[in-house]
């Protein structure tokens, strides 16, 4: 790989790493500063997913010409992350709401209130 292309690649890698790290730090700050568990899930579920996708793209770009399987594994990792993080966050949010985990006192609107489950077991099914 010649010099100019390597320089562009390095700049791209640094930009991806910096933006991914920025979103991770923002997620951490949100995790500490937000008042209740639902808003904390909002921080960890969205900003964290974007941050990890950008951070995984950095080695994919960095090893683009050398190891062909890195890009495959990297795209696979991003797909897995995009598949699993919303599922885990949904399960946790649903468990919290079904067990009457308290919302923050300044919560403006709770549209799920009228559908609140009486028996949390029914939603998950009884296998």
């Amino acid at each position: 790989m010649d010099g100019a292309l390597a320089a562009v690649r390095d700049l791209l890698v640094v930009a991806l790493m910096a933006s991914g790290t920025f979103f991770m730090v923002v997620t951490g700050i949100g995790l500490v500063r937000f008042p209740d568990v639902y808003t904390r899930m909002h921080a960890a579920g969205k900003a964290g997913t974007l941050g990890i996708a950008l951070l995984i793209l950095a080695p994919v770009v960095f090893f683009a010409g050398t190891d062909p399987f890195v890009s495959v594994r990297g795209c696979l990792a991003i797909v897995f992350q995009l598949l699993t993080t919303p599922g885990a966050t949904y399960l946790l949010a649903h468990a919290c709401y079904a067990t009457n985990h308290p919302l923050h006192e300044r919560t403006a609107l709770d549209e799920l209130q009228e559908f609140r489950l009486v028996y949390p077991d029914e939603e998950f099914g009884d296998e």
Partner: protein, 91 residues
């Protein structure tokens, strides 16, 4: 140019340690179990990001397998905790 990448990787690593510390703060302080589960989820994500940065810093693809394996199994802990909180048992 490679020193530039290594330097920025070190800075990113330090900032990721800050993010991991914030997640650890939530795990330690978090008033209920669900808050700790969120912090644990975040901590595993930050560790995956650290491995990515280390791959760039060390110019090695040796540890890149850990990235996609951790993204594949990292959510299982959170899902297990969620099911336990909702039903009192996991399976």
């Amino acid at each position: 140019m490679s020193g530039f990448v290594a330097l920025s990787a070190s800075i990113c690593m330090a900032l990721l340690f800050v993010a991991a510390g914030l997640a650890l703060y939530r795990i330690v302080v978090g008033p209920r179990a669900a808050d700790r589960a969120v912090g644990f989820d975040m901590l595993s994500t930050v560790i995956v990001g650290m491995i990515c940065v280390l791959c760039v810093a060390w110019r090695s693809t040796l540890y890149f397998d850990a990235v996609w394996i951790l993204t594949l199994v990292g959510f299982l802990g959170t899902a297990a905790i969620a099911k336990y909180l909702a039903r009192g048992r996991i399976f």
